[in-house]
Symmetry: C2
Subunit: 483 residues, 2 copies
């Protein structure tokens, strides 16, 4: 235990490093819990690109539990079902992208599986972030603050030192600073393997195709509904965007080699190299690829699978979202799990705030409560999120099975979908309320264990936390204000 | 549709090929449904060895739903929890079998995971089969009947031809004839890859160690509770047998090579080759291995993973248990899923019997009802059982991760247990009642689709099946007799 053990509790001030989607959602979640929060973002403004992202129904439930304004921001930015011609039809579909099964119909692609119930709604990252930012009061976010180091003062408080020479103080630091997280490097040391993202040996090429041209190749129905075209060593995924005016197409290729430069995860690519890699694939897939622009960006997919982070917390510092568990994109759920993280942390810091209020005349220090909270965060979140990182790689390996190219192995290849269904359901059917209850219980247990006299302990049952109260039948209702 | 379409329905006579555990349980399940059944077993008597096997609580629930006498036979043969010193403690435990983590305590093995809730009860195969056989009336089983071929007569009935030149007739044939199933060869053709089991590239050595000597190496607690010792390319599993007088020890090794002779899945092995393969492993593991007999049997582990069966049925013939989905043993659940199969088939043939009673004056033939039943069996059972075959291989691959040997990869290696927990729960938390309801619905749908006039159709809701009735609140009560 660091810091001044005899100091009485004071309301915690929290620093969030990184103003991306997860950082912004967490900020709103903490503000709703009346936590004093400051965000430090290295860029000159919000840093998300115009790329697409999607949230499951379970992730939207997390947003609502934190603050209905978050889910409202998602609606405002125009999020729509990833299958645009029927909002009830939320199946993801897998079809054979490699083999031709019917001599009489070259456009036929064998359906392999459909798995529904995700409730995915897609949006553009930059637009969602812009809507989120409208709810964040002026002065909460400071831009052009590039974190250099975190130091612990004698009283336990933390000093953030930025590259521009300025500093800031806080009681706790949460790193939401993405796959190349500086806060993770602080926790692990810069030389630790987990401080650096790892190449998954898969690359992605993305492009937009005008919908009328896509329909000419795919047909109306296929073009307007989410499909994975799978085959040996590669797959192609598409879904409609821009209110159905365009098709977002992503081609994923295997790359057994090394990625030359870990500091740049993108490189120039071309349609020709995609066509060459997909030699012998189904004519529909090749027809769609030929509609992509000549020049494409090639994204190297990095994650934290090979060297997962041993712990998401140390003292009053923790990491969340991609900073803690950057994943390849094959479940489309990286941001969803970041939102779950944000709900967990919002719950915990609401608990910390109550602890220190109750303990004002007691012996529980703010630092002790914060440490218990971040320990609970690690206990509640690490297993599931690291599972996702593994699972996303596994899903891609199953899509890319060499068996697809061998007719004697097709039956074997198709047995993968029961596993893919289980993995998808584990992500989609997340029970946010259950996590909140587990989070409160973990916090109470750790606080009790660390508190010499057991004072300042607020257990889950008696909690006044608005998130916990919300679960007791009031979800979706306006939350109570500060009590 | 084969057979005489105009013939009226008659009560079906069912032939089961194979008198192993699953065949015997299915026989009892069918007898309880008042089905006329005959079993043909190639051996001169019941063919199971004295090897151990275990059943989950879910599998025992399937037994009770078929006939409480089946679960009673399991109790009578002395089935006990696989952890013998505390029957409430049904955890499976994984510990580090390779690395030493404490210089001060060479006996310390790092706990990696514990997963509970299986309700595994272990017994000896031969003893369980003997108890089951006491409930089977004389004349139901014919021994020394080695199936050679199955032929379909003009009226749709089946003729089983045996190697001894004799024949038998039946309305339907269910192959419970194990991993080398002759009935599977009939369905697929002898040249099809799925007609022959495939080498998993894992071998197992089994042996018994006197408990007092095992305790001297493992300590009291570890010796009396189920443990997996995992490491690079191998693992060792042990649990107490013979009322705690002995420890059953199995060592699983990877073997990248070919198995020389697919007709003989066992070969002579030695303790010395196991010791050599485990060079550098934890001293406790090596100490335990040194207690095994000098001469050991080496079992090649075969399964149907590489070439799964495309369909479990064709016409009036189907396959169940290992004949349909022989698995490696790493989930300990191969027989459990065979018991689930038996419940599914007992439910279906009970439905068929009702259909043909109702349809006596109608147009539904026995053959049509049997075909619908076996189509429903394939629809309900194939996905889950082929998943198990894959999952068992995957589990072993995770136990054998090379990462265990590299301290920088230990964190990565340990992230496998969330997946192993999910896989275990999918097996252990099987909902037998839900499967029965799904089975009845699948049967009704297929019968309706195949019935020209929709007559003779008994839907699930109005069903008089004793298994279905049992689910409506009377499970475990004596079943109603024939109505």
């Amino acid at each position: 235990m660091a810091g001044d053990e005899t100091a009485h509790a004071t309301e915690p001030r929290v620093a969030i490093v990184g103003g991306g989607i997860v950082g912004a959602i967490l900020t709103l979640g903490l503000l709703r819990q009346n936590i004093s929060v400051r965000v430090y973002e290295r860029a000159g403004g919000f840093r998300e690109l115009g790329a697409g992202m999607a949230f499951t129904a379970a992730a939207r439930r997390c947003m609502t539990l934190m603050d209905p304004a978050i889910a409202e921001a998602l609606r405002r930015c125009g999020a729509v079902s990833v299958s645009d011609d029927d909002s009830d039809d939320d199946y993801l579909r897998w079809i054979d992208g490699y083999n031709q099964h019917r001599a009489d119909d070259p456009s036929y692609q064998k359906p392999l599986a459909q798995i529904g119930g995700n409730g995915f709604q897609g949006c553009r990252r930059d637009q969602f972030l812009e809507e989120l930012s409208k709810n964040i009061p002026d002065g909460v976010i400071e831009f052009r603050k590039h974190l250099e180091s975190i130091e612990e003062r004698e009283d336990g408080r933390l000093v953030l030192r930025f590259v521009d020479g300025t500093t800031a103080e806080s009681d706790a630091v949460i790193g939401c600073d993405g796959i190349k997280s500086r806060v993770r490097q602080h926790l692990m040391g810069r030389d630790h393997a987990a401080s650096h993202p790892q190449y998954t040996h898969k690359v992605a090429y993305r492009g937009l195709v005008p919908m009328d041209r896509a329909v000419a190749v795919l047909g109306e129905w296929k073009a307007h509904n989410f499909h994975h075209h799978v085959g040996p060593g590669a797959h192609l995924t598409h879904y409609p965007v821009a209110n159905g005016a365009a098709l977002n197409v992503t081609v994923f290729l295997s790359d057994p080699g090394r990625w030359p430069d870990h500091t740049a995860m993108v490189a120039a690519g071309s349609r020709d190299e995609v066509v060459a890699a997909l030699r012998g694939w189904h004519p529909v897939v090749l027809g769609l690829v030929r509609l992509l622009p000549h020049e494409l960006v090639k994204w190297a997919l990095f994650d934290l699978a090979e060297f997962p982070v041993p712990r998401y917390n140390a003292g009053r510092v923790c990491i969340a979202g991609d900073a803690a568990h950057a994943s390849s994109p094959h479940h489309g759920a990286g941001a969803c799990l970041g939102v779950e993280d944000a709900l967990c942390l919002s719950t915990l810091l609401g608990q910390v705030r109550e602890t220190v209020q109750v303990a004002a005349a007691g012996t529980t220090t703010t630092g002790r409560a914060l440490e218990a909270a971040f320990e609970a965060f690690d206990a509640v979140r690490r297993t599931r999120t690291q599972w996702l990182v593994n699972s996303s790689r596994r899903a891609c390996d199953l899509y890319h099975q060499p068996e697809w190219a061998d007719p004697t192995r097709w039956i074997k290849a198709e047995t993968c979908f029961e596993e893919l269904r289980d993995r998808s359901y584990k992500i989609w059917h997340f029970d946010a309320g259950d996590m909140v209850r587990q989070t409160v219980a973990e916090y109470s247990r750790r606080l009790e264990a660390s508190s010499c006299e057991g004072q300042g302990h607020v257990d889950g049952k008696g909690s006044h936390s608005s998130i916990v109260a919300d679960l007791d039948g009031k979800a979706g209702m306006p939350l109570r204000g500060k009590h």
